[in-house]
Amino acid sequence: MSGGHDNHGGLNLTLHVWRQKNREAEGHFETYSLHDISEHCSFLEMLDQLNEQLLREGREPVAFEHDCREGICGSCSLVINGQAHGPDRETATCQLHMRRFHDGQTIYVEPFRAKAFPIVRDLVCDRSAFDRIIARGGFVSVNTGSPQDANAIPIPKENADLAMDAAACIGCGACVAACPNAAAMLFVGAKISHLSLLPQGQPERRRRVLAMVEQMDKEGFGNCGNIYECEAACPKGISVENIARLNKEYLGASLTARQASEAAGGF
């Protein structure tokens, strides 16, 4: 077993890191050498060590997003050697460990790139477009109060499990970064699936998908080209079947929206 780690025989690495002063500035790669990095530390802990080194040399540290460092907050937004979140399947950058790299390796580190995710500084980008999409319909309109008992509506376990699969999305945006069209359809599809699979999501099912897709387009995201890079990059393994469900829901809603609206007295 490999338990109880020590530091000898660390990795020597060459890093090319994207540096950009602010939203308006031109960005460029800068090259750094790092020595004796433990293979047991995480990718972000490697960047911590780079920043300590830069600080000692009187150079400004690299800004990158991170918080929970256990793969659930969705802050990580790095493209590592051309792959969003790096080489491991179903792994966010913060869970990527340096044992995945070899001594002497060159690593390129860039921010997620998409028109809808403008770069704020270095490796930090602005993903607030996702919040604006959720604000248009990614919810069940139920006020805090006294809803019926939680067990009043049985939900088949299969549906609850599928809804949970979709709800596991961490909103990191790797799907967008990995997509040649910078589409957000995996993100939007996951939320549409989550809520349309549950009885609680039914009353707003049609208006939700129409509004969220409208906002998605407005934000400048592209459309799905069936390349499936999004699923490959997703740290939570969200399936492209959610995009199929999004398309089905959207088509259904588009064709019946007018009738539903009239029947319901306008929406």
């Binding site: 338990g3 918080d67 256990e70 969705g74 792994t91 959720i134 069940v140 139920v142 019926q148 939900i155």
Partner: protein, 645 residues
């Protein structure tokens, strides 16, 4: 520390039969006319479970709400990382649970240092939380019949924990976040991401706003309101290494404390027993493995000191399943403080495992043999995967190595029954307040408390502030705002101009080590006195030898960190003073001088059955505080020595 003149605090707890207090109180609270609600502006700081649920619920009621969030989006708040579950007294499994039993378990689990009235209210509203979350579409685990599944959790003998795989916090937070985003879409909530609160503004003795820094441009901004809600989480990162997310910090509550809000039980820290052990000096944080694992995993160490054989080479008779041995009725499910302390004792006695010896085994061999690997995978698959990713060991084959780590802080700003701090108009919710967990929080109770505060308590109690006080119009032009902004700019300028040699992280690591060694799982007078001197020295060094590059007018992570570490160092001083003053053991606060012959925490109810609420009095080389006491009355749950045997 305390003077005879410091008044006893009024908790504003209602009187009468325990089970009627909350409804009686709600009836007696003044109401705000629906048409008037939109005239009141509430500022919510923090968007975890407590902040998001409060913002959504208050906006639904008609209040005008502004939300400040330190992240790029509210969905990243640290509540998202809670794995195990949320308690509620639903009694769906028919195993004897009730509001009274949840109340009783929580008071006892907190080792009789929580307020009975608060805890009873928490147990009462727990059932509504589950109803609310299901209505929002939170995908809790279900059985094949379509009804909700429950599991048991550390410290409880009934199955009352609702869960969504190993991501319960995530799903509850997304439920609250989505409800809040609905209000954003409706224009009822103004959401301001990437803002860090750096000071509280008090006008005529009432909290009327905050000073915040926009983190991408560095602009220092003023926000005025009629009430300020702090839902900014706990301060476990004072230990540097903890399971808390990196941005979790004490600055918001610490700045409020220095503006006059009393700090309750600062030394009450929860050390969680099932975390992945420290592996090297590069370590930036620790990872928790949900304690639901203790339902099926068996904790053990070798019987013999210094046994370095690999676990599969250690025969059954040479293993010590010490929790099952010492606590036959609770076994591996004893409360967190007890499980943590016993693990430390094993390591201290030279029976720890792994290369560092600072770990114990959590073994699934028997559970896999009993239920089969697929069933275990279904229950804990994502946790096993997370463990393997970090350690490169496969827990289906090799027992996990676990060790305690700082996880939660029961202490926080003192609040009364209305969640109002000692500064009128300043309310504190969730982990940021000190309220409901006493000296030890039970598993799956943090999510319950955060959502109870946000969904059900504050919407009822905030009305008393608006309806009961004359609140004049205050704008950000008020001199108090200018003064607070000057203070903030002064601090930022100082941090940028020291031009020393050490990074903020470097100071933070040193502080963390002092706190872990002297004010961690076990504390004694000598160690605490040493720590106090060390911390004061560290504070002096910090202000002489800190290095922050760049300017204040840009995204500057080093500047942000430096401000937080400065506040952590001050808080550490108070934590040590509090730990030193409380010469009893209770819950997570273990004073080596106060233990039973069996090594359990020994309370001293005659001297310490009170909440210690500290009032900041002076700065200087040694900071000064005045101690106020809120006596704790136990009318329903008889004071006894906790026993889990």
């Amino acid at each position: 520390m305390t003077t005879p003149t410091t008044p006893i605090l009024d908790s504003k707890c209602p009187s009468g039969p325990m089970s009627e207090r909350w409804s009686k109180h709600r009836f007696e609270l003044k109401l705000v006319n629906p048409a008037n609600k939109r005239k009141f502006h509430v500022l919510v700081v923090g968007t975890g479970l407590a902040g998001s649920s409060a913002a959504a619920s208050l906006a639904e009621l008609g209040y005008k709400v502004t939300v400040l969030c330190i992240h790029d989006t509210p969905r990243r708040a640290h509540s998202i990382a809670a794995q195990g579950g949320i308690n509620a007294a639903k009694n769906y499994p028919n195993d004897g649970d009730s509001v009274r039993r949840l109340f009783y378990d929580t008071v006892k689990g907190g080792d009789y240092r929580a307020r009975e009235s608060n805890v009873h209210r928490l147990a009462e509203v727990s059932t509504s939380i589950i109803d609310q979350c299901v209505a929002q579409g939170v995908p809790f685990a279900r059985e094949y019949g379509g009804l909700l599944d429950n599991r048991s959790f550390g410290g409880a003998q009934v199955s009352r924990t609702f869960y969504a795989r190993g991501q319960t916090g995530q799903q509850l937070l997304l439920g609250a976040y989505q409800s809040m985003m609905r209000q954003v879409g409706l224009g009822k909530v103004t959401l301001l991401p990437r803002r860090e609160m750096l000071d509280l503004v008090v006008v005529d003795g009432i909290a009327r706003g905050v000073i915040a820094r926009e983190l991408t441009t560095g602009t220092v901004e003023r926000y005025a309101a009629d009430a300020v809600l702090l839902a900014t989480g706990g301060y476990g990162n004072v230990f540097f290494l903890s399971t808390n997310a990196k941005l979790s910090n004490t600055t918001a509550i610490w700045r409020a404390h220095k503006r006059g809000a009393l700090f309750g039980n600062p030394c009450f820290t929860q050390i969680h027993p099932t975390c992945i052990p420290v592996s090297g000096s590069y370590q930036s944080k620790l990872t928790l493995m949900s304690e639901s694992l203790r339902n099926d995993g068996r904790v053990w160490v070798p019987k013999n000191k210094g046994d370095r054989r690999s676990p599969d080479q250690i025969p059954e008779e040479e293993r010590d399943y010490y929790l099952e041995r010492i606590y036959p009725s609770f076994g591996n499910l004893v409360p967190r403080d007890i499980a943590s302390r016993r693990a430390k004792e094993m390591a201290d006695a030279g029976r720890g495992v792994g290369e560092s010896g600072m770990a114990v085994y959590l073994d699934f061999r028997d559970a896999i043999a009993r239920d089969g690997a697929p069933r275990i995978r279904e229950r804990y698959g994502n946790l096993f995967q997370m463990y393997e990713r970090i350690t490169a060991d496969d827990p289906y084959k090799i027992p996990m190595r676990i060790y305690p780590a700082v996880h939660y802080t029961m202490g926080g700003l003192w609040v009364d029954y209305n969640l109002e701090s000692t500064i009128p108009g300043l309310f504190v919710l969730g982990e940021a307040n000190f309220s409901d967990h006493g000296a030890n929080r039970l598993g799956a109770s943090a999510l319950m408390q955060g959502l109870a505060d946000g969904y059900f308590v504050i919407p009822a109690t905030i009305g008393a502030h608006f309806a009961g006080r004359k609140l004049g119009a205050v704008t950000t032009d008020h001199p108090s705002f200018a003064a607070a902004e000057r203070d903030v700019q002064g601090r930022l300028g100082k941090l940028l101009s020291i031009d020393g040699r050490r990074s903020a992280d470097d100071f933070h690591r040193e502080l963390g080590l002092v706190m872990w060694n002297r004010c961690g799982m076990a504390r004694n007078e000598k160690g605490l006195k040493t720590a106090l001197a060390t911390i004061r020295g560290l504070r002096a060094q910090f202000w002489e030898n800190l290095r922050v590059l760049g300017t204040g007018e840009e995204l500057n992570r080093e500047l942000e960190k430096a401000g937080r570490v400065a506040d952590f160092i001050e808080l550490a001083e108070l934590m040590v003073i509090d730990a030193e003053h409380r010469r009893e053991s209770c819950g997570g606060h273990f004073r080596e001088e106060s233990q039973t012959v069996e090594g359990e925490a020994l309370r001293d109810d005659a001297s310490y059955a009170y909440v210690a609420a500290w009032q900041h009095a002076s700065d200087g080389p040694a900071m000064g505080w005045n101690l106020h006491r809120e006596p704790l009355m136990f009318e329903e749950v008889k004071l006894t020595q906790r026993s889990y045997k």
